[in-house]
Amino acid sequence: MKTFNYKDRKDTRSGFGAGLFEAGKKNKNVVALCADLTGSLKMNQFADEFPERFIQCGIAEANMIGTAAGLTIGGKIPFAGTFANFATGRVYDQIRQSVAYSNKNVKICASHAGLTLGEDGATHQILEDIGLMKMLPGMVVINPCDYNQTKAATIAISEYEGPVYLRFGRPKVPNFTPENQKFEIGKALLLDEGTDVTIFATGHLVWKAIEAAEILEQKNISCEIINIHTIKPLDEKTILQSVSKTKAVVTAEEHMMNGGLGDSIAQLLSRKLPAPIEMVAVNDTFGESGTPEELLTKYDVDTENIVSAVEAVLKRK
């Protein structure tokens, strides 16, 4: 298989902060809102450089979402940022009515998603956010895998008209995608070709999928790895093309199995191209305090789990 290298480990939230600043430089209609987590979301550079376009909302997320919807009337492009738990579950109805149903050009920017938030524990570790957001008609759902891709995605969504949910996280992870790679919303990225099985991964689990494929290569198993950075709209064409070749599927994500990426891919395949599928995801449980790596291991969303899932799915092929 291809060799994947990286120079440094970086957090995806910093990719968001850098992308937001770039988007703000490019387009003066870009405005940013934050609910008292400016530092955590790395929005400081934008706030410092464009103070008139940065709106501090305090710890009041419902109002932040409504305000963001209102800002679009007159042409602003609001990026509303907070932790994923407060950006989705806490404000679901505000997003549903004022943003999604009203088709407002709001970018909901959600950091500290999933287990890798770590020590703060289950109150903050939302694992349901992708499911909540993808159920909303018209909502685009994006979960990039590293710093470079998150930065590119942030810039790309500023140029897209319509509601978007952008999910990223806290831990430093290998920054391996090419710098300045163009981000195309809804276009899955084939990272490596393989013949025995396709691993569809999203977010932080993309690097884990690469690690798993390296281990599996030693066992003479050839994995195709596809980075699904956009969960909605799903790149059906790329997925069906790959599965028609490999005829076996593993999905990997730092999210609940119900409502996640695996759920979307299983829906597609069961309708159009039935194939054995195994899902690496959190299975109907809340998280807890711990280090990110400890949590990924304990909740069965680690490299080893992808390896086992591939071995299991190949037995069903």
Binding site: V31, E52, R53, I55, C57, G58, A60, A62, N63, M64, I65, G66, T67, A68, A69, G70, L71, T72, I73, G74, G75, K76, P78, D93, Q94, R96, Q97, S98, Y101, S102, N103, K104
Partner: protein, 281 residues
């Protein structure tokens, strides 16, 4: 100045529209709609600076109104149609399948005049704050208006927005509260009392005005006065006393007509009390 006689005539027709629309589909919210008919008529026909016939979602260089208590949709649709936003005959499609006149206001069907969906309560003040900030960023000196129910003030988001508007000195915003003292389950004071609303809003940093929402002259005078108070670093709220069901005697003084349609006989009784001034749709 204003010709309140003309406004009263329009409001009478709007009230006819409301009861006819709600009756036709046996569905809707006549009580609050009738109570706020004088206010919304004044706003659209006297107070706001906008072009009714050329709807612009971005509301560039014009005043904006958001109906936060979206169940007053029959009232809003009637006022929009009577102001020329769309044909009055479309009012007959209210709450029917494939209509642009959804049960609660929506943007999906591109009905001129609607900029955000409402119905789930408590969200309109936040939206208005956002649009008011955009107007400031765009150096557009126009005003953002809202209407809320008093029961709606039980939603926490309203008070988040109240803090936010005062903190950010959103002084191009005039919110109005329909203070009719009624909500679905009964009198507001029995369900969840709001206490001293004037003191509450003042303590949040707002300029508070009061008016009689069923006295057209007072409505016009107070709204014009509110306009003169914009630009002074403070958001403005008007506590508007109204009578739910105003204009139709058997609908007044009770919460019972919040979300109930009149039957054929009741419709006739209601229409007998409301002069047809502009021609029924």
């Amino acid at each position: 100045m204003s010709d309140t006689q003309n406004l009263k005539q329009i409001a009478s027709q709007v009230r006819r529209d409301i009861v006819r629309m709600v009756h036709a589909q046996n569905s809707g919210h006549p009580g609050g709609s009738l109570g706020c008919a004088d206010f919304l008529t004044s706003l659209y026909f006297e107070i706001m600076d906008y072009d009714p016939k050329n709807f612009d979602m971005d509301a560039k260089d014009q005043d904006v109104f958001f109906l936060s208590n979206g169940h007053l949709s029959a009232l809003w649709y009637s006022v929009l149609a009577r102001s020329g936003a769309f044909e009055t005959k479309e009012l007959s499609t209210f709450r029917t399948l494939n209509s642009r006149l959804q049960g609660h206001p929506a943007t999906k069907e591109n009905l001129p005049g609607i900029r955000v969906a409402s119905g789930s309560l408590g969200q309109g003040l936040s939206v208005a704050c956002g649009t008011a900030i955009t107007k400031k960023l765009n150096n557009d000196p126009h005003i953002v208006y809202t209407l809320h129910g008093d029961g709606e003030l039980q939603e926490g988001q309203i008070w988040e927005a109240a803090l936010f508007a005062a903190h950010h000195k959103i002084d191009n915003l005039i919110a109005t509260v329909d203070f009719n003292g009624q909500q679905i389950d009964g009198p507001v004071d029995d369900i969840m009392t709001l206490g001293n609303l004037t003191a509450k809003w003042e303590s949040f940093g707002w300029k508070v005005l009061e008016m009689d929402g069923n006295n057209m002259a007072d409505v016009v005078k107070t709204l014009n006065h509110a306009k003169t108070l914009t630009g002074n670093d403070k958001p403005i709220v008007i506590l508007m006393k109204t009578e739910m069901g105003m204009g139709v005697d058997f609908m007044m003084g009770s919460h019972k007509w919040h979300g109930v349609a009149p039957n054929d006989e009741q419709l006739q009784t209601a229409l007998n009390q409301l002069e047809e001034t502009l021609g029924d749709y």
